[in-house]
Amino acid sequence: MPRAPIIEFSDVSKTYGEAHALEHVSLVVGAGEFLAIVGPSGSGKTTLLRLVNRLAEPSSGEVRVENADVRLADPPLLRRRIGYVFQGIGLFPHLTVAENIAITPRLIGWEKDKRAARADELLNLVRLDPAHYRDRLPAELSGGERQRVGVARALAAEPKIVLMDEPFGALDAVNRDAIGRDYRALHAGLGLTTVMITHDLTEAVLLADRIVVIHEGRLIEEGTPRELMISPKNAYVRELIETPRRQAERLGALLKGGA
């Protein structure tokens, strides 16, 4: 079943002075899709994500969210209906966990009681005990706990779209896998559309419905994880795919009791 488009990039370019961050990128994200954008640092993938909620503006081309040109939307109002998980997590250090989570509902004007209830609900959702965590300050949390709070904050105002910029990059392997799987379940359960940036192809392959690869500001490959693993068209992508595939084969062989 083809998905209805919810985010559309049409021939988008972005230049910073002489430097080209993005060149003629066109991409459609379907409603309910989990899209991973993969690419090395400086490839322009973060810029692409920031165009969606107008943290950056394209130099040319058009970005549409829910069938409307984002340029017609007031940036703060647009951002309040799109969840965003930041690379540096970006929790407000002077606000408690519950206050951090309920920040967007507060901006929208929810009542205090409703906000508190929502914060507890989300803490449960990201598997943190509300009684134990709600009144703590971010500085008192571990990296994994902070990232879970970051995810909860992005979901607080019941957005349809969630943008994630290297959300689990700073975590150890075990935490990373656990939070990744938990999030994937939330994505499905809440009917979200998720665009996640990562430089880790394995993570993309394991979580996403579809992967696009960005290299030097250009979209060079697009497909399902399976398509990318089996028949990558682009030489760079082939190289990129080689490592996880070799690792997977080696792990598979080990599990079968060989070597």
Binding site: N53, Y84, F86, F92, H94, I103
Partner: protein
Amino acid sequence: MSLDPRIDDALARLPDYLGNHVLVSVSALLLGLAVSLPLAILSIRRPVLRNALLAFSSIVQTIPGLALLALFYPLLLGLSALTGRAFGASFSALGFLPAVLALALYSMLPVVRNTVTGILGIDPAVNEAALGVGMTRRQALLMVELPLALPVIMAGIRTSAVWTIGTATLATPVGQTSLGNYIFTGLQTQNWIFVLFGCVAAAVLALAVDQLLALMENGVSTRKRGQIALGAAGIAFIVAAALGPGFAASRATYIVGAKTFTEQYILEALIEERLQAAGLSTRRRDGLGSTIIFDALKAGDIDVYVDYSGTLWTTQMQRTDTKPREEVLAELKTWLVARRIDLLGALGFENAYALAMSRKRAESLGIRSIADLARVAPGLSIAGDYEFFARPEWRALVDAYGLSFRKQMLVQPEFMYPAAAAGEVDVISAYTSEGRLAQFDLVVLDDPKHVIPPYDAILLLAPGRAGDAKFVEALKPLSGAIDVKLMQAANLRANGKGGDSSPEAIARWMWGEIVRSGK
């Protein structure tokens, strides 16, 4: 009962001085905050404005506090004249207004710098998150940037408060009563207990406010509302306690002015004593600069003070010639009448500028007059007070006698006389009514060419006060009542120790002498 009557005197003045000090420094601090906080916030995303603001407040900071305060007086005076002409309403350029404005300007730098540093120092990831969750710029400022920068801003406010309270002691010379009155009066009358009292009181006040603000700062950074409230309550208590008695006191009807030297403090006390004896309520405004005080009288900010004919002759009338004593007085009186100022009378003595030398040194060099001095001057040194070498009399002396010295220096008057006696300097500028001339065995050199104009001490009344019969009657007996010997003796007493050396005690003694001599 205290050990020293001067301590009792200092304590008696504390409510007035402290109350005014708190009033002027708190007003300046609040005004400074009201200007510098919004400006600093506005400048955060405007680098040009930010640099200009920081540069401006740094430059203000390099101007010595005393000079900054003094600069505001002529500035406001001009402004007052302008509004007077434009709207028919002028304001007092003396005292509270220039002090508050100058101190507010002075208080800006720490607040501006810390606000800018505090906000710019926030982790960019937090700023990005603030926008990303959907805050407007204004919401990001109020909900994220200011709360995060608050501890740094509070630290700036603390620095600013301590600076302002300390610098407010310099408000005295522009006519604003402050704890500086102890220091300026003490320095002039060699009352070291006063000087110390003023310093300690200002330091205690600054420390107390600093500690209360520190408590608030700590409360802010650790999110303890109780500490913030306690600190704020403490400051409110200081303000209320300091201002309470001041506002309760009745407004004085007559204000007596004085310049910044001993003789002026004594005469101020004498005038005040006479007015009070006539049942009039009085207040003092002392430690005023020489030209500020005349403008203050002209504007009606003070009602009466003693000036000297030669001073007004040269600095106000801009005369470069000299005339005999009586003619100077007559011409001055006419000139003052045109300005609606009444010259009630001459007190009977002169406090003229003169050149003086130690008797031994003068005799060994064979010097009796300035003409004699001119011949050997190139090998001698001369010391003058802060005004002397800038005055027209000095230029006239140089021109008339061809004076030229090996070395020329500025010295506080109190130290000049002993320096001349000890031979550390050969010639000093002196005042003829100075008691220490005799004390240190100094001789005044003759002025055969009559270059230095006469300096009769004269009582000046503010416009409109000449018709106040009770006021005039109370002051009349001082006219012609003080000869130079009495003034010299009075000035010499001020250098003594103990309670007898206070201006009030000397004033009472002088009145006793005046009555006894039956003048």
